[in-house]
């Protein structure tokens, strides 16, 4: 892989000479394997060795004041993106130079500014992850299968080595190299199911049997199906569901674009209390190593850690090159445009306490097709996925009765979910943001949360 990096960097001087415009290249090299397994039927086992080169070019003249801030060019600038799966930087540059005159002015884009590069080379690379092959992974999974022939086991095991290189005409040069893995396992038996997942950088500290045992422990605890009767319930959200709630909070309330448009639920309220709940502290922090991502955005700007909500107070929002009014306001969230590496502060409860403190509790492990129903309220809707259980606690016994609650539709205001959160687990979990394959999206770190006074009516959950 190093030869590609050398080739691109060696051409930079020549390309700077050739181009009358500012530009930057984004080179991604990835070696990825996804072993997808199922108990009795192998499905996909995919390897991808890829190279991706993107040119971002602006009509900003190179001799412009290199310290120019975004305030100085209020009328916008032209910007074009050209990508290729070949290492052809000179060809892309020539295409870009030809295309710029015809491009339209984007009045949000104010041209390139030199990012404040604080890390020129970052390496979080682990040999055990890089050396994993489909065969070694399959053999480990086969040993699980032989131990549990009475159950259906399926999922994925991804391993990946990634190198990002960013090189710009304004002097930007960043290199980020890392390994990461994702493991997901779903176990089914007699119509019941349970799942576990784990992500990380170092496979050397990963124990597949321990992960499987977690899923099987949940599988064994369950009893037959019972749809919860109409009434008010405590709902405990598992880490995957909490991660989705945080995602919607970020998307609907904490992006710079929504703030400019006035469509965020936080618009005009920054610095104000959104709700009274001292338990809620939500932040965005790529510097926590568990969030597993790059420390810079697609323009090479360092990602800044943000406090989104502190005790219910709206603190900061995420800005990009396009939405920031000044260079200082840019928080390095180009690409997604939103906070995507979130941490929800832990509480003091054990997970069992969350289930047993109330007489009736519904556990929602994860959502299926959650969508935005109304951006302004805000409101999300969807249904729960496998892993929705009804816990019935009897104070005379230590163990609650657990029933499979099936799939329930929900209509939630994600802000009210945080407002009504009465307890959080002291353990937190790392939840991946989608598949890791060839993306810069990382992970959230969240606890279980318990939300009281959720209405269940006709098998549907409401908190609006």
């Amino acid at each position: 892989m190093n030869k590609y990096i050398k080739e691109l960097t060696s051409l930079m001087d020549e390309m700077k000479e050739k181009s009358p415009y500012e530009f930057m290249f984004y080179l991604t090299l990835s070696d990825f394997n996804c072993l997808r397994y199922a108990n009795s039927m192998g499905t996909q086992n995919t390897s991808i060795k890829s190279l991706s080169l993107t040119l971002i070019m602006s009509d900003q003249a190179k001799d412009a004041d290199s310290q120019q801030t975004t305030d100085n060019t209020p009328d916008g600038a032209k910007i074009i993106y050209l990508s290729s799966s070949e290492l052809n930087p000179m060809e892309l540059l020539e295409q870009g130079i030809k295309a710029i005159p015809d491009a339209s002015v984007n009045d949000e884009f104010k041209g390139f500014c030199p990012p404040d590069v604080t890390h020129k080379e970052v390496k979080t690379w682990y040999e055990d992850t890089a050396a994993a092959t489909s065969k070694t992974k399959a053999m480990a999974l086969e040993s699980l299968r032989k131990e549990h022939t009475d159950k259906w086991l399926g999922g994925i095991w991804e391993t990946e080595e990634i190198t990002h290189l960013m090189a710009g005409s304004n002097g930007l040069l960043l290199r980020d190299q890392f390994t990461r893995y994702t493991f997901e396992l779903k176990a089914e038996q007699n119509g019941k199911s349970a799942s576990v997942y784990r992500i990380g950088r170092d496979l050397g500290s990963f124990d597949i049997h321990k992960e499987c045992d977690k899923a099987l422990k949940n599988l064994e605890r369950k009893t037959p199906k019972q749809i919860p009767k109409d009434g008010k319930y405590r709902v405990v959200f598992g880490p995957e569901a909490v991660s989705e709630i945080c995602f919607f909070i970020s998307l609907l309330g904490f992006g710079g674009r929504g703030d400019k448009q006035g469509s965020n639920f936080t618009s005009g309220k920054i610095g104000e209390k959104l709700f009274e709940n001292d338990l809620i502290h939500l932040s965005d922090n790529c510097y926590n190593p568990l969030t597993l991502t790059c420390k810079h955005d697609n323009f090479g700007y360092p990602r800044k850690p943000l406090t989104l909500l502190n005790k219910g107070k709206i603190c900061e929002i995420a800005h990009t090159q396009f939405t920031a009014k000044t260079l200082e306001e840019n928080t390095g969230h180009g690409g997604s445009g939103a906070a995507m590496l979130m941490e929800l502060k832990e509480g003091s409860s054990t997970i069992d306490e969350l289930y047993t403190e109330k007489e009736k509790t519904v556990l929602i492990s994860r959502f299926h097709y959650p969508t935005i129903a109304d951006r302004s309220k805000p409101e999300i809707k969807g249904s729960t996925k496998d892993g929705t259980y009804l816990y019935i606690s009897d104070r005379n016994t230590t163990e609650p009765t657990i029933k499979d609650a099936g799939t329930l539709e929900f209509f939630f205001n994600p802000v009210r979910l945080l407002e009504n959160t009465t307890a959080l687990s002291k353990d937190r979990f790392v939840v991946p943001q989608g598949s890791l394959s060839m993306s810069m999206v990382g992970a959230n770190i969240v606890p279980y949360i318990a939300v009281d006074d959720v209405t269940i009516k006709d098998g549907k959950l409401y908190l609006l």
């Binding site: 009795s40 995919t46 050209l82 399926g154 302004s376 309220k377």
Partner: protein, 498 residues
């Protein structure tokens, strides 16, 4: 575009290397894909244009080990040198061998037959979107967006997106196929705020995520987006100021865009054989259409006929061959209300003794082909026109343009909400209602309520955003659907109030 000489050299070498593997590689194929994309979008008057090209190849093999088990392996790369080719062949075989560990013992009793097809296919294109300057397309998108602006608009957006895939396919059984498929779609959307500022309403044409076909820029012309956009802002304001749709049990007439998504989610996905076989169970879900009930299960009323048709002119999943070389074809999936077949490729179809439906598809060089929705089409009726169907309803709702959905993971049971919900009173379309929705506890129960299907020329609609598989594949899926279908006794209304 590909250099044909380079393709020939690499493919000859790959096939030779695959054949040299002997029994380790029972079957092998190499698929080259050059993908060129153009995305022109604007939001609130800001236009951004982008083009993206990527090329590479994927090698898929069926391996057999000493334990008499078979396993599929796939490896791919965008690096086109000879040294990498050898690595990719070896990695595909290693991945296949790893997969053998999960196979049932009796896989060797089923013989996989590779395609022997030879030929070429290209999407007919009248106006090539890749020959139009990006700046011209940018101006057009801005014009589309300009039409939906208004005082109460809090957000406007429009896009045109074009994608061309130039593909070569070769395998160890002699197939040699070259295809050039051109996809194109676009749409315009406006979101307005209510007078009191307490709720918003989106309106889009032809649908929020656009309507994609295999065609050239003439598809954008034929949709008349600019013309239809002219009334969109007023419609959005009218809906925004309308009363909410109340919960109830009603007769509904569903319009084409909503039908396309309905067919997609609860017919298309349910018919995918990999779901029925449990291969998608850990991610996308299973299917309520069980393999042992095929040809017996009643999916809906006997007027319901659903086909997979990859030959339908201009539809977004129309091609010459699928991504393992099976000739495009039309196959009944639901015949007279009965489930009779699955969307499948050769790899899974032969496990049930079926012929491939020509539905084994991949999104590019870097993904293994899997069983996918193709053009899954609800066939028109033969009695009433759409207008006559609406005229036949005394008291009901007209529902069109989806804006939200939740569907059970086995595709049995759902709720959809729509942008456009209008009362039908005494056979005539009446006022708009806000937050219209409909739901069903089970999918067959819903399709059993299908009373009439319009006989007019159907609408050719396509999506560009269907996600499935791990690593995920976002694929084009088409649905040619009637202009209107009537269902009686449907649960309606947005249950968003406690």
């Amino acid at each position: 575009m590909w250099n044909k000489e380079r393709i020939k050299t690499l493919s000859d070498k790959a096939i030779k290397l695959l054949k040299e593997q002997g029994k380790k590689c029972l079957y092998g194929e190499i698929r080259f894909v050059n993908q060129e994309k153009r995305n022109i979008s604007s939001q609130n008057g800001n236009c951004s244009t982008g083009s993206d090209t990527e090329k590479g190849y994927g090698i898929r093999v069926l391996t057999e080990g000493t334990n008499s088990r078979q396993g599929w392996g796939f490896a791919s790369t965008s690096i086109l040198d000879d040294e990498t080719l050898l690595k990719i062949v070896n990695e595909a075989v290693l991945n296949g061998e790893a997969n053998q560990l999960f196979q049932p013992k009796d896989t060797t009793t089923v013989k996989f037959e590779g395609s022997t097809e030879i030929g070429t296919y290209a999407t007919p294109v009248e106006i090539d979107p890749f020959h139009i300057p990006l700046s011209e397309l940018g101006k057009r998108v801005l014009t589309m967006e300009e039409k939906v602006k208004g005082e109460r608009a809090i957000s406007t957006s429009a896009f045109i997106s074009a994608d061309r895939q130039d593909k070569y396919f070769f395998n160890t059984t002699g197939a040699n196929i070259h295809q050039t498929i051109t996809y194109i779609g676009g749409s315009v959307t406006v979101m307005v705020s209510s007078k009191e500022g307490n709720h918003n309403q989106s309106c889009s044409y032809p649908a929020p995520a656009g309507n994609f076909n295999t065609a050239g820029l003439e598809h954008i012309d034929n949709m008349n987006i600019e013309k239809n956009a002219e009334t969109l802002y007023d419609t959005a304001c009218e809906i925004c100021d309308s009363p909410e749709c109340e919960e109830g049990i009603k007769t509904v007439v569903i319009g084409p865009q909503m039908l396309a998504l309905l067919v997609h989610e609860v017919a298309g996905h349910a018919l995918e054989l990999d779901r029925a076989l449990g291969q998608e169970a850990a991610y996308a879900g299973r299917s309520f259409l069980k393999t042992d009930e095929m040809t017996k299960l009643v999916y809906g009323a006997d007027i319901v006929n659903i086909v997979s048709d990859t030959t339908y002119e201009g539809a977004v999943s129309t091609y010459g061959w699928d991504d393992e070389g099976t000739k495009s074809r039309k196959v009944y999936m639901i015949k007279d209300g009965i489930h009779v077949n699955y969307l499948s490729g050769r790899g899974n179809a032969h496990l049930l003794g079926l012929k491939s439906a020509g539905a084994c598809r991949s999104i590019g060089w870097h993904r293994q082909p899997i069983d996918r929705i193709t053009n899954v089409n609800l066939l028109p009726g033969d009695k009433l026109t759409a207008e006559e169907i609406i005229a036949s309803v005394d008291d009901g709702l007209y529902l069109n343009i989806p804006c939200g959905w939740s569907i059970n993971s086995d595709r049995n049971g759902f709720r959809f909400s729509v942008e456009r919900c209008r009362e039908i009173k005494n056979g005539k379309l009446g006022k708009y209602l806000r937050n219209g929705a409909f739901s069903a506890e089970t999918t067959p129960e819903f399709w059993a309520k299908c009373i009439s299907i319009a006989k007019d020329k159907p609408a050719n609609l396509g999506f560009a955003n269907c996600a499935k598989g791990q690593p995920v594949q976002v694929q084009y899926t088409g649905h040619v659907v009637p202009q209107a279908v009537r269902f009686d006794n449907v649960n309606t209304g947005e249950a968003s109030n406690e």
